[in-house]
Amino acid sequence: MAKPIIECRDVWKTYSMGDVKVNALQGLNLIVKEGEFVSIMGPSGSGKSTAMNMIGGLDIPSKGSIFLDGKNIAHLTESDLAQIRGRKIGFIFQRFNLINTLTAKENILLPMMFQDTPLAERQRHATELLKMVELDDRTNHKPNELSGGQQQRVAIARALANKPQVVLADEPTGNLDSKSGDIIMTFLKKLHKEGRTIIVVTHDEEVAKCADRIYILKDGTIVKTQKGGYVR
């Protein structure tokens, strides 16, 4: 039986803009088991991205606990969170978010630089990852010399640089045509097969169906859980 790697317990997030308070999350409860492929769906503004940011340690909740690998990360300092983000989480964004001044390979080297990985090991691993996302012929290309799909593949490689347990992807196919999107999903499925925990936020039914389980979010809380079409 797989143990839970992520657990949100009654998580609230309130943004205040002047006098107006927005509850982006309202008592979110969610469990993701080690090695699971989960997708999160829901209308715009329902709190999907907010939930992802909490799970990934990019932000802290106003109330509630978030357990990552058994450790509550809800009250950690920014510096501790940075460590956790760097080592345990791999982020994939809708807008790719590669560093434009750096080449494909250098973008992949960057997360390892923050973890003090030995130089030779960084180089070796980056090359390996580029090969994995089938971009070894684009090693020295800058992001603006790559297509959207290729950029997202570099982003996947970058997310894997520090061998994280969890990969978080917030609408990874949102800015891509369906063909490129399919390729991205193929890579994510492959990562899942290798044993990584994957959480994908999406608006796309087809994408969501890749998952073991689909959570439907509405007004900052899970309203429905359904089985995905993924066959192990």
């Binding site: 932000d59 923050f114 003090d116």
Partner: protein, 408 residues
């Protein structure tokens, strides 16, 4: 802690995204550094060459002149005068080996139909006094010959006066000129000494000059040589005391002054130091302006790279990493500006040296680059850069990652 080399590498990548902006940002720094380096190198070189000149004269000399008169320039305005009687007193002072006097007077020089104003300097008429006067001013005849003692109608001219184009008729050996209306013939030309005063003066026998200006006893400057082994400063005090009693003035009210080369050197150095401080101050202001330029660029970078900062944080960068990254970039801007500045400053200094040797004779100015000037300039540039980058770096580092990522 992440390796510094990594930060330098990223800084380099970031700075090369806009060459023009990077260059303009460094401009302020390198102008400032270039100014500091060249000014210090030139003034230090100047001090050294002045020191060398004084070493040549020797530390055993005393210069006695009327107060408020600049060394080397005549006292036409002052009513206070020194005379041959003062000279005798100086000569008779204890521990004074010899003393000579000479006059410096402005005079009208007529060459053909043209008139000019030049200084007349006289040369004593006894053999050993003459020798001393010539040695003191490092004089040497290169063309023609020296005038004879008591020569009533021959002169030797400075090298600048013999330059073609000064008058329509170029002065040379044998040329006849009028000085204050009296006719003289050029007997010889001095080798260029590098001092514009000496190089453009007319030299004649002391007796003749006194006749010409109708001042049989006048002396402008008395130069005394202290006896071997005697302390020039003690001798200076003795001479002062004797002159005070002879001229009947109280201590502190002297209308004359006795200076040793050390005194003169010190006062010249003081002037140079003041000039140096003022100019370096101006240069430092330009460095501050350069620092503000770096600060501005780094603030712009914080805004431009907000999303990037968010991404860096998402992939594991701590606040301190972002902080160091920005500091290294700002420091790099300062440092690069400093390197260009040092190179430019050295270039300017050498250019000044070349120009100086062209106009004033070679070997006069040797610009001087002590290691601490170069290391100091580079360190300072780096510090100015980093300090200017500190505030923007701190601002960038404390951006919350989620907000940075949402930034458009």
């Amino acid at each position: 802690m992440t390796n510094v080399v990594d930060f330098v590498w990223i800084a380099f990548r970031n700075l090369s995204r806009s060459h023009v902006r990077t260059f303009l940002t460094m401009l302020g720094i390198f102008i400032g550094i270039a100014a500091v380096v060249s000014l210090v190198a030139i003034s230090q070189g100047l001090k050294d060459s002045i020191q060398a000149q004084f070493d040549k004269i020797g530390a055993d000399k005393l210069y006695i002149s009327v107060k408020n008169t600049n060394f080397g320039v005549g006292s036409d305005i002052s009513s206070v005068k020194l005379t041959t009687e003062d000279l005798d007193r100086v000569k008779k002072s204890q521990n004074v080996k010899t003393a000579i006097a000479y006059n410096i007077k402005a005079a009208t020089v007529t060459v053909g139909f043209e008139n000019g104003v030049h200084y007349l300097i006289d040369i004593p008429d006894t053999a050993d006094e003459r020798e001393l006067a010539i040695a003191l001013n490092s004089l040497e005849v290169t063309t023609g010959k020296m005038m004879r003692k008591n020569d009533p109608d021959q002169v030797v001219i400075g090298a600048e006066l013999a330059k073609p184009g000064l008058y329509s008729k170029t002065l040379g050996v044998g040329t006849k000129i009028l000085v204050n209306g009296r006719q003289f013939q050029v007997a010889g030309i001095w080798k260029k000494v590098g001092d514009p005063g000496t190089d453009s003066s007319v030299f004649m026998s002391q007796k003749t000059l006194r006749e010409l200006i109708n001042e049989p006893k006048l002396v402008t400057v008395i130069v005394a040589q202290s006896a071997k082994g005697a302390n020039p400063l003690t001798v200076a005090e003795t001479v002062k005391k004797n002159l005070r009693s002879f001229r009947n003035v109280k201590e502190g009210d002297e209308d004359f002054e006795v200076q040793t080369p050390d005194d003169i050197l010190r006062s010249l150095n003081t002037v140079l130091d003041i000039i140096q401080v003022v100019l370096v101050g101006v240069a430092v202001i330009s460095l501050v302006v350069g620092g503000i330029g770096i600060m501005n660029t780094m603030y712009t970078a914080t805004l431009e790279r907000t999303t990037e900062i968010g991404v860096m944080k998402a992939i594991g960068a701590r606040n301190s990493d972002i902080m160091v990254q920005f500091l290294v970039e700002a420091g790099f801007l300062g440092m690069a500006g400093g390197i260009i500045g040092v190179a430019l400053g050295a270039g300017i200094a050498y250019l000044v040296q070349i120009i100086a040797s062209f106009y004033l004779g070679s070997n006069l100015l040797h610009v001087y680059f002590p290691w601490y000037l170069i290391v100091g300039a580079l360190t300072f540039a780096f510090v100015v850069g980093s300090l200017s980058g500190a505030l923007p770096a701190w601002q960038a580092s404390k951006l919350p990652p989620v907000e940075a990522l949402r930034y458009e």
